[in-house]
């Protein structure tokens, strides 16, 4: 058998990505990507429902009923969370873009993102979810 000495090309599976133990920066980036996909899905859904306003008002009303149901409100809360995280972390990246010296404090900025996320997100989620309890009652 002919001997091979060719180097083994690198593997690029999700498992290999997860094998690397990155810090806060890598987690922030991963969340940014995941929330970005969620926001993209939301935009598609939004394009669809706005199309129904003119194209099929009946379907629009049906869709809004789904949005207003408990499951729909849960989904809206999760979408809101994805959108809000994406916006806040996006600001964190923009701030470092404008003032590269702030990269030294990227972990602090990351913590500020989470403080704002919960400080504004929890009351926001409460407002969206509150009608569920009213229905239950």
């Amino acid at each position: 058998m002919a001997r091979s000495t060719a180097p083994l090309p690198p593997r690029r599976t999700l498992k290999d990505y997860l094998a690397y133990r990155g810090g806060e920066g890598m987690v922030a980036w991963a969340f940014h990507r995941i929330s970005g996909v969620a926001v993209w899905a939301f935009v598609l859904l939004h394009v669809l429902d706005i199309y129904f306003v003119g194209g099929n008002p009946q379907a629009y009303n049906e869709l809004l009923k789904i949005y207003a149901s408990p499951a729909g409100r849960m989904m809206e809360t999760l979408l809101g969370a994805a959108l809000f995280y994406h916006a806040l972390n996006g600001m964190r990246i923009v701030v470092m873009d404008f003032w590269p010296a702030l990269t030294a404090y990227h972990r602090t900025l990351w913590r500020i993102v989470w403080v704002l996320f919960f400080a504004i997100g929890i009351p926001g989620a409460y407002i969206i979810l509150k009608p569920i309890w009213e229905v239950v009652r």
Partner: protein
């Protein structure tokens, strides 16, 4: 005390894929991972293959993925890790054998950014003077030892092997912001490419991996700003 040393092995002459091999190695807490690897090679299996030269964190030969992070084996002590030490080659580069990776592509990218002083001949034999403030601007990026720990820790590089990578940008930064250099514009053109600075996603893996403590992301963002303003 003993540690369990897990090494990713790959012999291109016999193996289709890499596999893991474990050794129980006697160590002292102050031993470095490089000492543990050397001991395993001397006492258990002479075919274990890895690079090292200076053994003092200067040459950049022995960057490895140790317990899931890129570090220099010669700068990491056993007491900084647990009882299990897992050693794999740098991620994202072709594996030549065991822990040895093919660095050609990495050095090709380094060379692509003109990592040398470009300046017209000085008049007479005068020195090229520079103030302490001018030197300070690029001080951080003079420290690179080209170990590739940063570039191979970068998810953007894993996903797009053509990305020029943190190490090359650091070395471009070192000359772009050198007041004596005259080729900043050419380097900025090279880095304005779609596989240049814009692939940075501020993941900070590079900063954490750098054995020299360089704030690599800051350097990349300074170069991006210069590319944008050129």
């Amino acid at each position: 005390m003993d540690v369990e040393l897990r090494i990713q092995r790959f012999d291109p002459e016999t193996d289709q894929a890499p596999h893991w091999q474990s050794f129980t190695v006697p160590v002292e807490p102050m031993d470095r991972v490089l000492d543990v690897l050397t001991r395993a090679k001397e006492q258990f299996d002479g075919s274990i293959t890895f690079r090292r030269s200076c053994a003092h964190g200067v040459c950049g030969s022995d960057a490895l993925m140790i317990n899931g992070r890129n570090r220099l084996a010669c700068k990491l002590r056993v007491e900084q890790l647990g009882r299990t030490i897992t050693v794999a080659p740098l991620p994202g580069l072709p594996v030549v054998k065991d822990l040895v990776v093919d660095m050609e592509g990495f050095f090709g990218k380094y060379r692509s950014v003109m990592p040398f002083l470009v300046a017209a001949e000085p008049e007479g034999s005068g020195e090229r003077l520079q103030s302490a403030e001018q030197r300070e601007v690029y001080d951080d990026t003079t420290k690179c030892i080209l170990c590739a720990a940063c570039t191979t820790s970068c998810p953007s590089f894993w996903a797009e092997p053509e990305y020029v990578g943190p190490a090359a940008i650091v070395n471009a930064h070192r000359f772009i912001f050198d007041s004596r250099d005259e080729a900043a514009h050419e380097r900025l053109e090279i880095l304005a490419d779609e596989d240049g600075v814009w692939r940075c996603r501020t993941t900070f893996n590079c900063v954490e991996a750098c054995p020299r403590g360089i704030n690599i992301t800051k350097a990349i963002l300074e170069v991006s700003a210069a590319v944008g303003a050129r």
